[in-house]
């Protein structure tokens, strides 16, 4: 019994492979339907602005003679002969944009050409391919290397909102009131001589 030749040993039954677990029934996940958007040659920034909604777009084939007043963000890739005003919003001049007139907005981003002043209450950004002939008056400015600017650059910080005064308590003597402390920081408001 113990000297049986191996080949005479009955082949050991091969254990069947364990049955594969039944596929888990997957509940289809309903993904929000993505809005199909046409392929665009607009810069990525342009699409980001659009995805936030509320951006008016002036395409590169559009020419406007006259002033523009906007109460939403504005993307200009066309030709505007006139002033552009979006006091509470952002104005982007695209790489094909050409504006001949001032731009006044909360934020101004310039990729294209502007002949006119920039008044940006919060921020002005001049990209490397931009060409600006005009003054810039803004609380902040960012200039990329290569940007062409011919004009005066002036930083004007917004004035801080005055805090509510507490009710007056009269304890001071009738003598002269103490003088206000002198400011040690320069007041960056335009060229003052």
């Amino acid at each position: 019994m113990w000297n049986r030749r191996r080949e005479e040993e009955p082949p050991k039954p091969i254990a069947p492979p364990p049955p594969s677990p039944p596929p888990v029934a997957q509940t289809p996940v309903l993904e929000p339907k993505k809005e199909m958007k046409p392929v665009s040659s607009m810069p990525v920034g342009r699409l980001d602005a659009e995805s936030r909604g509320g951006t008016a777009n002036i395409g590169k084939a559009v020419r406007i003679n006259g002033d523009i007043h906007s109460e939403e963000d504005l993307y200009v890739d066309g030709n505007i002969q006139g002033k552009v005003e979006a006091l509470k919003n952002k104005v982007v001049v695209g790489p094909n944009g050409l504006v001949q007139g001032a731009i006044q907005a909360r934020e101004v981003v310039l990729h294209g050409r502007l002949t006119g002043n920039v008044l940006a209450s919060e921020r002005a950004e001049i990209k490397k391919e931009a060409r600006l002939e005009g003054d810039v008056n803004s609380a902040r400015i960012m200039i990329e290397d290569g940007a062409y600017i011919k004009g005066k650059i002036e930083i004007v910080k917004p004035e801080p909102v005055a805090a509510a005064k507490p009710p007056a308590v009269s304890v001071a003597s009738p003598a002269a009131a103490p003088a206000a402390p002198a400011s040690s920081s320069p007041t960056p408001t335009g060229a003052q001589r």
Binding site: M142, Y148, K150, I153, G190, A191
Partner: protein, 232 residues
């Protein structure tokens, strides 16, 4: 034994105290930063001329300075943080656009006047100082004379101009720099190619060039740049 990551220096090696200030330079600082894309080389060095220029305007606010090297973030931030405004102009770019490679055209009075209208069309005494950098060295004599005279008019009296001239002894291609202000006494020079100057200038030549001004002061640098402070 060197351990990787944050344990690297635990058994020795150099330790760096975070936030430690770099030692004050006791000799001229010259660092070669990695050039940005498209730039040839970058170096930072002290500038006596720049130091003098800012010393003269120290304590004043709300000045309007003219810069002829083109707008850079550093220079705009530096000047505006001092409380001044900066009129920026890329003088060499306008020069190229107006004259191209035609040096003979720089003698044409009509073209000279057109160029002045494109670059220095300002009321008399409009600016409180000018950072000329090295642009004057690339102007042919007739244009150079006209530009210097126009600069004298558009800057108010008792103001200062800072100009750089290459001090080579022969006409050969020299580096064209973008000058970025690092501190009141330190400049970063970013080379953007080379260009042959229009003329050679020694101290006597510079004095003759600014003969209509009040005074001229010279500083020579290791990059063979002659720094000149001119008072109107």
């Amino acid at each position: 034994m060197q351990l990787p990551g944050p344990l690297k220096g635990i058994f020795g090696g150099r330790s760096v105290t975070p936030g430690a200030a770099s030692p004050a330079p006791s000799q001229p600082l010259r660092t070669h930063a990695a050039p940005r894309r498209g730039e040839d080389s970058v170096l930072t060095r002290p500038s006596r001329g720049l130091e003098e220029f800012f010393a003269y305007i120290r304590g004043q606010y709300g000045l309007t300075l003219l810069e002829l090297g083109g707008a850079t973030q550093q220079n705009v931030s530096f000047i505006t943080n001092l409380g001044h405004s900066l009129y920026s102009l890329d003088f060499l770019q306008v020069l190229n656009e107006t004259f191209g490679d035609d040096k003979v055209d720089q003698s044409n009075p009509g073209r000279i006047e057109y160029f002045l209208r494109q670059t220095l069309d300002h009321p008399d005494g409009h600016f409180d100082g000018v950072l000329i950098w090295d642009v004057l060295g690339y102007l042919e004599p007739p244009l150079l004379t006209a530009v210097v005279e126009r600069l004298r008019r558009v800057v108010r009296p008792k103001s200062y101009l800072l100009a750089f001239f290459h001090s080579d002894d022969k006409l050969q291609p020299v580096p064209v720099y973008t000058f970025r202000i690092q501190t009141v006494s330190e400049l970063q020079l970013v080379q953007r190619g080379t260009r042959v100057p229009a003329a050679l200038f020694n101290n006597r030549g510079v004095e003759r060039l600014f003969g209509g001004f009040d005074s001229v002061k010279f500083f020579l640098t290791k990059e063979r740049l002659r720094e000149v402070i001119v008072k109107t």
